[in-house]
């Protein structure tokens, strides 16, 4: 039998070449990480078993794979009549399958979820034994409970590991898999503190930030921090923004402060402001100090507003244009912007307060009096020589920063707006409320309330 399970192997006898039983298999050691072709440390697609751990006279002894002839549900047979009594010592990149992987939480990249390993599938490939898949089925549970004696037949559908590169993730609406190939699995460092793994979470980083956020939300704050730390600044910011609000502050507190500041810089200023508000004063000041001057200023402006007001959910990331600029000029200028805001669906035509020749600068003037709004649609569909002031709509809807955020959100729903401008008393543009933030106000995240019937609220 080439395919078998970990639960069928643990506890089985270890015999010498002559057939003398010397011990029982306590656990298997697998090498999870190795140097890849580029010389970097990365996760192996199908980790090799590098040896067994057995108990001899109550001490854990390591038997390297080279000394093992066969390994399977019948037990292990050694290549020689003797065995070197080498004490077991943890090495870099290696784990104990039973102690560190079984029953622990793992990330299933393909399924975009967190799973718990019920059993592990192993495959004998010539001389080596490899871990091929994680079994999360009910059958695996029963197999474990019967110590591998029942339910051990391998599913005819399961095959030895393939070589093809996976091109696409599992379709979102497909039923969850019972057997997940190891190459789609990412273990977590924080779950097993004894283990020394690098774990760069490179596969996880390829998922949509919302999926990463949902996975991180399932885990503890420490594991969430581990994940955020492993991502690049931009992805980390995108992910952190999507995570449970309660969680965000705990995670930021666990990160290195310089790194936290970098991530905050990449976040939308309004999301960064929300996060900072949940921290204590000292920490908030410290992080603001470490942030880029411009970003910190933006965030600080937003912090001045109370959470449940329009000011509390607006962002200062938007594009302004002077009234005389033409359509052609606008398109050219927009292409030159370095860090374009998320929302460019509307261009805000403002009075030129500070006349400047730097055309690109024109596009992000703050505090100008709002004269009208031009939609991107109009820009794309109008002749190139039209001026902004010809295209703009002056009959626009707006709110002031002290207005209640629920009302602002409902306004956006009523008028089908993607963004709502926030003006001060002199009708100067302070910020915009984007549709995603409005949706959060109208459809709050009540996942936890689902567990407990609404007895208490």
């Amino acid at each position: 039998m080439d395919l078998f399970y970990l639960s069928q192997v643990r506890g089985r006898p270890v015999r010498t070449q002559r057939g003398d039983r010397i011990a029982r298999i306590k656990d298997l050691v697998a090498r999870l990480e190795a140097l890849n072709a580029k010389g970097e440390v990365s996760l192996e697609a199908y980790p090799r078993i590098s040896g067994l751990v057995v108990d001899i006279e109550k001490r854990p002894i390591f038997i390297p794979a080279e000394q093992v002839n066969t390994l399977g549900p019948e037990g292990a047979q050694l290549a020689s009549a003797r065995v070197d009594l080498r004490p077991f010592v943890r090495r870099e990149g290696e784990v104990l399958l039973g102690r560190d992987i079984l029953d622990k939480q793992l990330i299933d990249i393909d399924g975009r979820r967190v799973i718990r390993a019920n059993d592990l599938q192993l495959y004998r490939d010539g001389g080596a034994v490899r871990v091929t898949a994680v079994d999360v089925s009910g059958k695996a549970l029963l197999r474990r409970l019967t110590f591998g004696r029942l339910f051990g037949s391998t599913n005819s559908a399961s095959q030895p590991p393939g070589d093809q590169k996976r091109t696409r993730l599992r379709p979102r609406r497909a039923p969850p898999a019972k057997l997940i190939e190891w190459r789609d699995i990412e273990p977590l460092k924080s779950g097993v503190p004894d283990v020394r793994l690098r774990l760069s979470h490179e596969r996880l980083a390829m998922l949509h930030p919302v999926d990463i956020a949902r996975i991180a939300d399932e885990l503890s704050y420490k594991e969430g921090a581990e994940i955020i730390e492993s991502l690049d600044d931009e992805t980390a910011a995108d992910t952190l923004q999507e995570m449970d609000e309660e969680r965000q502050a705990d995670i930021v507190e666990s990160l290195d402060q310089e790194r936290a500041a970098d991530i905050l810089e990449e976040m939308e200023p309004d999301d960064a402001a929300d996060l900072l508000q949940d921290l204590d004063e000292e920490q908030k000041a410290e992080l603001l100090r470490r942030m880029d001057r411009d970003e910190a200023e933006d965030v600080q402006e937003l912090l001045a507003y109370e959470e449940d007001t329009a000011g509390g959910i607006m962002t200062c990331d938007f594009i302004t244009v002077p009234p005389q600029v033409t359509v052609d000029e606008i398109i050219t200028l927009m292409r030159q912007i370095e860090d374009a805001p998320d929302v460019i669906d509307y261009l805000y035509v403002v009075e030129e307060e500070h006349p400047t020749t730097d055309r690109v600068q024109l596009l992000q003037q703050e505090g100008g009096k709002l004269l009208g709004i031009v939609t991107l649609r109009d820009v794309l569909l109008s002749p190139g020589d039209r001026h902004m002031e010809e295209l703009m709509k002056t009959d626009f809807v707006w709110v002031s920063p002290q207005d209640d955020r629920d009302t602002a959100a409902r306004l956006m729903a009523d008028y089908n707006l993607l963004a709502l401008p926030v003006l001060d008393e002199q009708e100067r543009l302070l910020g915009i409320i984007t549709v995603d933030d409005a949706m959060e106000v109208l459809v709050p995240d009540e996942r936890w309330l689902h567990r407990i019937p609404r007895v208490f609220g």
Binding site: Q105, L141, S220, Y221, K222, E246, V455, F456
Partner: protein
């Protein structure tokens, strides 16, 4: 190009005063929703089992067990605090954490323990509804049907929020009624106060039964899992630890304050007049006579009904979730039967079994409720051993693991409860 001169619209928004009122209402509501896990947990403690056990204790032993009301309150704070700390550090529920740390075999043991205890509690809630409605002349099969319908509706959550709030208010009302009754019955406050700190009573089988029952109704296995899951689900973290501790202490205090009033009220009205045996709800209701006279039965009935209702809303769901999370089964009321078969299967089992059990003709409902809480007390040490093994484990809690004081307290509670449970079992076998 002609430009229509239209001034930009600014729709009417709320005035400053309106917003202030809105914000006050919103924050009160928020307080209820975000009502700390400790408060919620404490509240749910006064279910059918709670009211019944305290009534029996007060009637049978007078003020002798007041010390236990205080002691179990302190023990409750210790166990709930640990549960909350485990939840906010690991982000996992109790059974999931046991699986993570001790493996699947021990998990099965822990889950079975909890399931047996929870089935007992759910039966007690059904029995509570039966006993309460019996006061109004409703036959048992009808109240079983009512109970089952309540559970199903709760699960569908079809607009039940408002109804449930009513029952919370009713529950509060009845607690107040007990307090007032206690006062009006002219109890021996001096004795009550002294007995709070000085244990009294003779060690007999019934005494042990009462002790284990009282502990079992205060610190329940499901309550232990509940607080941890609640905190984990709300994604609380280390920065919420102080707030959680405060509200757990408050919750425990309030729930045992009510317990104390029930005991005193029963001691003053029932025990003092020699009516030490409570077999029906009507007997227990008499404790409310000083306040309500003939309406005592009505108030008690409504209160018991409300308490059972709240219990039904919490215990089956917590059990189904705990078990499912331990074994990685799909959960969630937003899933269908086919998507989450085990989850719904468990719920169906709870409702079915409890209904059938309560239908047994001639079942002494009050005794059933009381004994289910004794069962909780007997099984509790098993769960507590797991909890405190986890609490002291650096691999689990890291820096937040229980310090020496808290850990010693925890183990003291565990050992004490175990000793009493063993003593009870031994007494039963010999007695």
């Amino acid at each position: 190009m002609a430009q229509t001169e239209v001034t930009p619209t600014r729709p009417v928004v709320r005035s400053r005063r309106d917003r202030a009122v809105f914000r006050l209402r919103a924050s009160l509501l928020a307080l209820l929703t975000v009502a700390g896990p400790g408060l919620v947990s404490g509240f749910a403690d006064n279910d059918a089992g709670g009211i019944t056990t305290y009534s029996v204790v007060g009637a049978q032993f007078g003020y002798d067990l007041m010390w236990l009301i205080l002691a179990s309150m302190l023990a409750l704070v210790v166990t709930q605090e640990v549960g909350a700390r485990l939840g906010l550090t690991t982000g996992e529920g109790l059974m999931g954490l046991i699986r993570e740390r001790f493996g699947v075999h021990w998990t099965v043991f822990a889950v079975l323990t909890m399931l047996v205890s929870n089935v007992g509690t759910i039966v007690s809630e059904f029995a509570g509804i039966g006993a309460a409605l019996a006061l109004f002349g409703v036959p048992i099969p009808v109240s079983c049907a009512v109970s089952a319908a309540i559970v199903i509706a709760l699960l569908a959550r079809a607009n039940f929020a408002r109804v449930q709030t009513i029952f919370v208010v009713v529950g509060l009302g009845v607690s107040v009624a007990y307090a007032v009754s206690a006062a009006l019955a002219k109890p021996d406050w001096g004795r009550a106060a002294t007995y709070l700190v000085v244990p009294h009573g003779t060690l007999s089988q019934t005494y042990l039964l009462a002790v284990v029952g009282t502990v079992g109704t205060t610190i329940t296995p499901w309550g232990q899992a509940f607080i941890q899951s609640y905190v984990a689900d709300k994604r609380l973290g280390p920065k919420d630890l102080t707030a959680s501790r405060f509200d757990i202490s408050l919750g425990s205090f309030l729930t045992n304050l009510v317990a104390g009033f029930i005991v005193v009220a029963c001691a003053a009205t029932l025990w003092a007049h020699g009516q030490t045996n409570i077999t029906t709800a009507a007997d227990a209701a008499r404790a409310l006579q000083p306040l309500a006279g003939r309406a005592a039965e009505i108030i008690f009935g409504v209160g018991l009904f409300a308490a059972s209702f709240l219990g039904l809303g919490t215990v089956p769901l917590t059990s189904a979730y705990s078990t499912s999370e331990a074994f990685g089964w799909e959960t969630g009321l937003d899933r269908t039967w086919r998507e989450a078969p085990f989850f719904y299967g468990l719920l169906a089992f709870f409702v079915g079994f409890a209904t059938l059990f309560v239908l047994i003709p001639g079942l002494p409902l009050i005794s059933v409720i009381y004994l289910s809480q004794v069962l909780n007390g007997l099984l509790l040490p098993i769960i507590l051993v797991f909890v405190f093994l986890l609490a002291g484990d650096r691999r689990v809690l890291g820096d937040l693991r229980s310090g020496r004081t808290l850990l010693s307290l925890g183990w003291f509670v565990t050992v004490s409860v175990s000793v009493m449970s063993v003593a009870l079992v031994v007494a039963q076998i010999h007695g």
